[in-house]
Symmetry: C2
Subunit: 241 residues, 2 copies
C-alpha cells in the first residue's frame, strides 16, 4: 500500500479529529511537536555551521504558530532565526505566549510594514528560508504577502516549506507557476495532493497520530526510524504516487 496524498478536506478532517474529544490533543501539544519536527528536518539538511541564518516566514494561521515554535527550537539548536510574520497571529489564542518564548531566546521579529526593505535586508543576510505561510489556507497571495512572494521566490536562498509551499494550491500544486520552489518539503501527518509533483527532499513529520486514525484514513505512513520525529521519503515511495 502506498502513502496517501490528502485532499484539503481530508487533511482538515484529520486535524479536527486529533483535537476533538476523541483525539483529545491540545493545540499546544500538536504545535510543539510539529514545530520541533520542522526544526529537526531543517537541521538534518542545513547544518548550523554552514547555514546559521534562517528567515522564518509565518502566516497568520496555526501554521504560523508551528513556525514560531520551530524558530524557538532552531535557536535552541544554535541557529540564528529571524521571524517575518507581517500579518500577526491575532486569531490564535497562544500567539502572545509563543512570541514571548521567542523574545526570551532573543529572536528578532521584522516589524510589520508596507515597506519591504526590512524583509530585503533580512533576506540578504539569510541562507535558508523556512516557509510556514500557507498551511491549508488557499488564498494567502494577498497583501501583505503578495509583495513578499517575488522577493522570497527570487532570493536564490534554500527554501524549506511546510505542508504547502507559499503560492501553491493544496490539491493542484504550483498551478499558477508563481509559487516558491522549495528544496525541502516537510509534510505534517501526511503529504497533500498538490505535492505529488514535488521532487526535492521530502520529510513526513507528526509522529503523534494514533494508529487507529492512521488506519481509519488509510494513510499508509512510512515507518519512522528509532525515536525520530521525522522520516524522509525514499525515492521508491515517491515513484508510487
Amino acid at each position: 500500500m502506498s502513502l496517501r496524498y490528502l485532499t484539503a478536506k481530508l487533511a482538515q478532517q484529520i486535524d479536527d479529529e486529533l483535537i476533538n474529544e476523541a483525539g483529545a490533543f491540545s493545540i499546544d501539544q500538536l504545535m510543539e511537536l510539529a514545530g520541533l519536527a520542522i526544526a529537526q528536518a531543517l537541521a538534518r539538511v542545513y547544518n548550523k555551521d554552514e547555514y546559521p541564518n534562517v528567515l522564518v516566514c509565518c502566516g497568520p494561521g496555526n501554521q504560523g504558530g508551528d513556525g514560531l515554535v520551530a524558530a524557538r527550537h532552531l535557536a535552541m539548536f544554535g541557529y540564528n532565526p529571524v521571524i517575518f510574520m507581517p500579518k500577526g497571529f491575532k486569531d490564535v489564542y497562544n500567539f502572545e505566549r509563543l512570541k514571548t518564548q521567542c523574545d526570551n531566546m532573543n529572536i528578532k521579529m521584522i516589524p510589520p510594514s508596507d515597506d519591504t526593505s526590512l524583509l530585503q535586508d533580512s533576506l540578504s543576510s539569510a541562507e535558508v528560508i523556512l516557509d510556514t505561510i500557507s498551511g491549508l489556507s488557499p488564498k494567502l497571495i494577498q497583501a501583505p504577502f503578495n509583495s513578499a512572494l517575488p522577493l522570497l521566490a527570487n532570493s536564490g536562498l534554500h527554501i524549506v516549506s511546510v505542508d504547502v509551499p507559499f503560492g501553491w494550491d493544496v490539491e493542484e500544486g504550483n498551478v499558477e507557476g508563481v509559487g516558491l520552489e522549495p528544496d525541502v518539503l516537510v509534510s505534517l501527518i501526511a503529504p497533500k495532493r498538490g505535492m505529488r509533483s514535488f521532487r526535492g527532499r521530502h520529510f513526513v513529520a507528526g509522529r503523534f497520530i494514533p494508529k487507529s486514525l492512521e488506519e481509519k484514513f488509510e494513510l499508509n505512513l512510512p515507518e519512522y526510524p528509532d525515536s525520530d520525529q521525522i522520516v524522509e521519503l525514499a525515492m521508491e515511495e515517491e515513484a508510487h504516487r
Copy 2:
C-alpha cells in the same frame, strides 16, 4: 564551570519561572517536551527489540503527567508500555486528555487496587521500569505507593528514573537505603542535589530552558548535540560534582 546540582527550592523556582508570565510556557508544552525526551532516553539505552515491555509508574503530580506522555511516545516508537498510576492524577487539569491519548494508543493501565497482584503480574512480563513517581515531592512513600516500593525494588528489572528515584530524597539521595537503584537517570532541566551519588548512565533533558534563565541560575548545562532533546553526561562531568 561545572554543572550545577539543584536544591529542591531552586528546582521549584526554575519550574515556576518557566510557566509564569516571563517564561510563558504552558504545562502542555513543557510536559510534551519532557515526556518525549524521557522516552527518547529510555530508547537510547533499551532498544525495543530486546526490551519491548515497559512498566511506566506514575505519581499523582506533574511528573506522573510526564510519565503518561512518555508512555504514549514509547508506544509510538513500537514499545508495549503498561501504566501503573495507583493514585490517579486528579489535581492536574490535563489528566483526562493525557489518559485518552494513551487509550487511543491501546496502552493498558493497571486499575487502582489495594491488592498488588496486578502490579506483580505486570512486573513479571516487563523488562524495564520507568519511574516517574516522585518528582520533587518528598513524601511519597505512603499508601498506595509504600506497598509497591519493595516489589519494584526487588523486581530485578532495569530501572529508568526521572529526576528523583522513588524512595530517594531530593537533596540527600537514598538516605534511608530503601529507594530504587536505577540504571539510568533522566534529570529534567538540571540534576538535583541528591543525585550527586548516582553512578549509572545519566541524561539531562529539557532543551527548552532559555539561555537567560540558564545564566541567571548558573546551571552550566552540557551542550546538547545536533537537534537532540537529551544529552548524556560524560564521566568527567560526573567527577566534578
